[in-house]
């Protein structure tokens, strides 16, 4: 994304909301177990304070995970991306030249389905089920590593093919820069 002066990039946790909620629920279950354990130890007149502290700590961690899940986690269920791939960072420089190179690839290979502005309204889009999504809406909701993975491997169950064998790593990362710029351009 080509940043304008004074414009901050949105913070996105490279984890789906489902993942974060999953962690939060497990932590909450642990907190409840510790709460039961501390009550049991108190009832039996054993040392219960550390169990109660543990229950509180796990409860607090669960609350943090819930807050992250409903604030900065990706909230769109999508085809899963390996954890390591989600954290991949774009090695290409964030410059107009990179975006222009990405645009050239986009117009050659992607435009026919995704449309000139990424709205999912290319000439071939109308024959597809599911239709290509509006990149301007969906790109900002995901980590750049996720876009790179989907461009590289394709998305099973859709018409989106993988471009790993056709495009170099650099070209695919340039594409990511371009679709991010599409989303950032009003």
């Amino acid at each position: 994304m080509v940043e304008q002066e004074g414009q901050a990039e949105a913070v996105i946790l490279p984890m789906t909301r489902d993942s974060a909620v999953q962690i939060a629920l497990l932590l909450l279950a642990g907190a409840l177990v510790f709460a039961g354990l501390s009550f049991f130890r108190w009832y039996r007149r054993r040392s219960w304070r550390r169990s109660a502290l543990s229950a509180g700590l796990m409860g607090a961690l669960s609350a943090v995970a819930f807050v992250l899940a409903f604030t900065v986690a990706v909230n769109v269920p999508t085809y899963p991306v390996p954890f390591t791939a989600r954290f991949a960072t774009n090695p290409t420089p964030n410059t107009l030249e990179t975006v222009a190179a990405g645009k050239a690839v986009y117009e050659r290979l992607c435009l026919v389905c995704h449309g000139a502005r990424g709205a999912g309204d290319g000439p071939a889009a109308f024959t597809m089920n599911p239709r290509p999504l509006d990149l301007r809406i969906h790109v900002p909701l995901h980590a750049e590593g996720e876009h790179f993975h989907w461009i590289s491997e394709g998305i099973p169950g859709t018409a989106m093919p993988g471009w790993r064998s056709t495009l170099s790593d650099t070209e695919r990362w340039q594409l990511v820069r371009y679709i991010q710029s599409l989303a950032a351009t009003p």
């Binding site: 993942s19 999953q22 700590l57 390591t84």
Partner: protein, 39 residues
Amino acid sequence: MTFAHIMSGPLDVLIELGLPLAVFAGLYWWSSRKGRPKP
């Protein structure tokens, strides 16, 4: 349950199941060990 959807690799399993379990195991060990006897 959403396990099948969210887990897409060993590292995901490690983070999404292992992290809470590790916290639980660590706290259980800490809460169960006997403190130093008071002088």
